[in-house]
């Protein structure tokens, strides 16, 4: 009698565990460097919120602090824990590939978020979820070109570029997208110089000061994100150089405000909240067996002084 009860209880608990395993997913995420900028901080908060709101998801949230070695260790730890899926925001698109391969060998699907890993690693990942940075660069070129046409200087304009951290995939892709698209639509606009601002407003300001000394005639500035764009704007305002068209990317609150003030022309709207939700959704879809595109891009529309009313002010 007693023995039967134990058996029944055991059977019942097995059944409960069985059901639970089928229904809830343990999803681990290792992020690049939360706290280094507001985008990544907002992303983490949005990810935690999205995971809490979904009863079927139990999230393990980790941050590599920008350290490749730590991120690889975190990947191995997540594999050890036997999570159902791993989301990775690579600290370095190449160095993390062996760790991603290990996850693949352990049959754990990997979703890359925000910035992609090197193509050599594509065989080991299930999907990339994030913005299309090449398309963003191209859109920024269109925004810049349209503005020059409206101002009637599309045949003579000279521009300079302030790029993100050298070697960082997002920085390279945005720059490539911009420099490839611009000559197609505005063949006479000349890109006279390009220097990195390292995603840093202060550095961008210093770089822009040198540009302003070096070139008497600057009509446009393209910056890899609004933080650097505003740094460039600060330099131009301090030097009293007016009439420069500033176009950035990843619209930040400061960029949005500068746009509202009429000092800054345009940017690309990219929400960390969309970014985080898309990553989690992609992982859940893959676990559910739903087909997702290998390159799962979310929308990043152009935002300028003309249409900014359609967008809410970024929270970062």
């Amino acid at each position: 009698m007693k023995f039967q009860t134990i058996l029944a209880a055991a059977a019942a608990s097995t059944a409960v565990v069985g059901v639970a395993q089928a229904e809830t997913y343990k999803i681990g995420i290792t992020q690049n460097n939360v706290g280094v900028d507001s985008y990544q901080t907002t992303y983490e908060q949005a990810f935690v919120d999205a995971a809490n709101a979904n009863d079927r998801v139990e999230a393990v949230v980790l941050d590599a602090g920008g350290d490749v070695a730590r991120q690889i260790a975190q990947m191995e730890n997540l594999i050890q824990q036997g999570v159902d899926a791993i989301i990775i925001w690579p600290t370095n698109g190449e160095a993390v590939i062996p760790a991603v391969r290990k996850a693949k060998q352990a049959d754990i699907p990997v979703v890359v978020t925000n910035s992609n890993i090197d193509e050599k690693g594509f065989d080991f990942i299930s999907s990339f979820s994030g913005p299309d940075n090449i398309a963003q660069g191209a859109t920024a070129a269109e925004v810049m070109c349209d503005r020059f046409k409206a101002l009637g200087i599309a045949d003579e304009a000279q521009i300079v570029e302030i790029t993100g951290q050298p070697g960082y995939t997002t920085a390279i892709e945005r720059s490539d997208g911009f420099t490839e698209r611009l000559p197609e639509i505005c063949p006479n606009v000349e890109l006279v110089d390009s220097q990195p601002g390292d995603w840093n407003r202060e550095k961008a300001q210093t770089v822009m000061e040198a540009f302003l000394t070096k070139y008497d005639d600057i009509d446009g500035v393209y910056a890899g994100d609004d933080n650097m764009g505003v740094g460039g704007l600060n330099a131009a305002m301090a030097a009293g150089r007016e009439g420069i068209t500033f176009v950035g990317a990843t619209n930040f609150a400061v960029g949005y405000e500068a746009m509202a003030n009429g000092d800054y022309w345009g940017s690309i709207y990219q929400s960390p909240v969309d970014d985080a939700r898309a990553a989690l959704e992609t992982a859940v879809d893959i676990l559910d067996g739903v087909d997702v595109p290998f390159l799962n891009y979310f929308e990043t529309p152009a935002i300028t002084q003309d249409n900014m009313g359609e967008f809410t002010k970024p929270v970062f």
Binding site: G35, V36, D37, S38, T41, A210, T213, K214, N227
Partner: protein, 324 residues
């Protein structure tokens, strides 16, 4: 008479090797790009160097006292973030002294550990580099700080304003350099700093309170860092948490370039200012010449090592001076 003047000049040059190196580089860059000597450009470089420069002034005290300060970069991020945050909460008039007080507390803590507990300054400030960065991130929640109403505040005057056409950051940098230069060269406190760094044991026998002198040097450094943080915050009216990261090495490079000895006991504020300007003008010159980015790193450091070599060669009167 002429011969005597020439000899004097030789002696002067030998003593001021770093100044000679500075003039040489200025001539080279001027030849490479005619805009280099443009007054706007020169003003711009000095203005951008002011933040690094203010920090280097304080670190000069610490280095002469025979210690190191590797925490100044993260401490500057801390000051910047704190003053920006408090600006919107309690207004600039209260935010600035509050930020100075908080930064001085950090400096006092480091000074206590190094001076009174006699812990190694390299380890203490390396640890504080991380700890203060963590403190900054905790304080800000990892978010960028921006001033809400940029147009309606006088806060921008420190970093963006000018007096009689001279940008305020330059004025603040140079006046602070003058005050600290006199303090180091002409006051009893300054002499004690050299004594403690030059020969600590001798200093003790002369009745100099070594711990208190070291402690005060870290306070001077923290004061300079707070000033730099104020300039930085006011200049960009907003900031990332990482704004000062990595600056500690540039600051140290400027101080050493100016001729301060890592062994302590040697260095002057004037030469630190020259070291700061050399760094600033090299970076600006390379940018103007349009050198590819990665090459700039290499060339910057080759030039710095050349400058240090020239300085030593001038002092010893020979280019070749192996360790005996």
């Amino acid at each position: 008479m002429v011969a005597l003047t020439r000899k004097d000049m030789g002696q002067f040059l030998a003593r001021q090797g770093i100044l000679v190196a500075f003039v040489l580089f200025m001539i080279l860059f001027t030849l490479a790009n005619d805009r280099f000597l443009d007054p706007d450009n020169i003003m711009g470089v000095v203005r951008s160097s002011a933040i690094l420069g203010v920090m280097a002034l304080g670190v000069t005290f610490v280095v002469i006292s025979g210690n190191l300060d590797l925490s100044v970069g993260s401490m500057m991020s801390f000051s910047t973030i704190v003053v920006l945050d408090l600006h919107d909460k309690i207004g600039p008039a209260l935010a600035i002294p509050a930020m100075f007080a908080m930064t001085l507390c950090l400096g006092a803590f480091i000074g206590f550990l190094v001076g009174y507990l006699k812990l190694n300054s390299l380890i203490v400030t390396l640890g504080m580099l991380s700890a203060i960065h963590g403190l900054t991130l905790t304080y800000s929640g990892g978010k960028n700080m921006d001033i809400d109403d940029m147009a309606g505040t006088w806060f921008g005057m420190f970093g963006r304003g000018d007096v009689l056409g001279i940008p305020t950051p330059i004025l603040i940098f140079l006046s602070l350099a003058a005050v600290l230069g006199v303090m180091l060269a002409k006051t009893p406190f300054g002499r004690k700093v050299y004594a403690v760094g030059g020969n600590g044991t001798a200093a003790t026998f002369s009745g100099i309170p070594r711990a208190r002198v070291v402690f005060s040097c870290y306070l001077v450094s923290a004061f300079c860092v707070a000033t730099a943080g104020l300039l930085q915050a006011s200049r960009s009216m907003g900031s990332q948490n990482t704004v000062g990261q990595g600056l500690e090495l540039e600051v140290l490079a400027a101080v050493i370039l100016g001729g301060a000895s890592l062994m302590g006991g040697a260095g002057t504020i004037f030469k630190t200012v020259i070291g700061v300007l050399i760094l600033g003008f090299i970076q600006n010159g390379l940018l103007l010449v349009g050198l590819p980015f990665y090459a700039q790193y290499v060339v910057t450091w080759v030039i710095i090592i050349l400058a240090v070599w020239l300085d030593i060669a001038a002092k010893r009167g020979g280019l070749w001076s192996p360790i005996a």
